[in-house]
Subunit: 159 residues, 4 copies
């Protein structure tokens, strides 16, 4: 099962080539990830349903989410679009203290000619803010996330 | 009359002080300005009503919007918020080829304790993309924008 | 007296218009300001002489530098340049707990045709990290900065 | 053989966790790559020797460098540092129209306790700006880059 997270570009995500910059793409994934996984601490209504959004991302929260690894394939340059990208997000693996988030970034939902722009994966480690050491994924988290576990993204450009 | 443009933060707008960075604030104003003034070239439904959105911002459009001047007062640091900021936007002055856009950036609409975080003004010049020279604001633009002309923002921190 | 702070662009400072983005310009001023005012806590050799660099900017330092106000005039669009911009920086005013930093951003030093791209001013407030309240500029700071006090930048585009 | 590209952080590269943001890391790699591969079109003296810097990156140049793929492992969070990072850069593979750039990001050169923060690889495709199609790496480019070909970076965190 996949989450569909509508994710808006900013005009400043474009670089001098007129496309979304490769580094900025990671910020878009970050925003989609937050929307999917962070609880709605200030009453924000998640666009994607709150069932996976069980992490507390507030400043001072007891868990930090650190990035251990990212892999990304840029298939088609992304032009400026005012309708949100359709970031499709699922979980490739749940480990003891980490999870692998997988993404496909598609053209805005409902567009006539759906285009797959990017595929990517991010390994996140849950870290105890106090000890700065990894902490185990708890049962509530595992239960919330398991429905979204699917085969990891298949990368086509590895050598 | 003011436009109310809901404008979302990204987590990466925060800096190491844990507040929205002063430079990133200008990106938020840029996004609000685009939402208010750029026509919905790909079918995007503006959240703020399309009556002021008469500029064509597409790549290759005949008009560029250049920034000549900005002034900004940071009144209260902006924490991370997942609900969109309420960027209130009006026009302080319409000149021959330029306009002054004024802003007040407020806490999310509907919050119990409304906070004015920032006030700002931007002078925009309409430039002909072919000649790279200023071009006159036309009658359709002037008619679309005049209802939103009001007294310019009053800055309190100028020396 | 002015400090000359060589300040390098990044390619990603450009936006889709092919010029340095207006918001990114504030980051360049931020970098010049840090180079001028923050002490060299990890042995970094300031390019501009350390006499003004008396603030401790390290994480956990006792003073935060908050931005209260910025004003900026964009005179000429800045193209991509690999040689550092010549950011000229002086102090327009020293108050009790704040100072106004003034800037002119020029084309790289030594270029045949010197161009003034931008002029700007930033009001900085020194804040006690523990109490989060403004704290007075001390005598050592005042002595370090006074040689660089000069007439504030004269803005030409205010209405 | 490796290039050592001193690459400076900006304070705004830090996020609210007080470390260099994961997306911003790609900008640092971009800057190191430009320093290594783009010719010194405005007289800029490369810090790393010009022998590999044979691509013309100027706006309007006949070749664009597009990113097809990136992989990155974040080993140790990067704190704010004013001395430049030591980005070590080599080439893992030269294909017909593409090359794989490999990186290790180390603490500033000369530091007592050298730390490997990040390892990464980027696949770049040379694209003809006129046709927007890949174009072959020419003999001069191949000759300039061959001395820097070495074993590709060995990633340790792939599942």
């Amino acid at each position: 099962m996949r989450l569909h997270v509508p994710t808006r570009l900013r005009w400043s995500d474009l670089d001098a080539y007129g496309h979304v910059n490769n580094a900025e793409m990671l910020r878009l994934l970050e925003e989609a990830r937050i929307e999917a996984f962070w609880s709605n601490d200030d009453g924000h209504q998640s666009a994607v349903g709150a069932s996976t959004a069980v992490l507390d991302g507030r400043p001072g929260a007891s868990t930090l989410t650190l990035i251990a690894r990212q892999e990304i394939e840029y298939l088609v340059p992304i032009p400026y679009l005012r309708q949100p990208l359709d970031v499709q997000l699922w979980i490739g693996h749940i480990g003891g203290a980490s999870l692998e988030v997988c993404y496909e970034v598609w053209s805005p939902a409902g567009a006539a000619d759906a285009t797959l722009f990017t595929r990517a994966a991010t390994t996140i480690v849950l870290v105890d803010a106090a000890t700065e050491r990894p902490r185990r994924i708890n049962e509530a988290e595992r239960a919330a996330w398991t429905p979204y576990v699917d085969a990891p993204v298949a990368f086509g450009k590895r050598r």
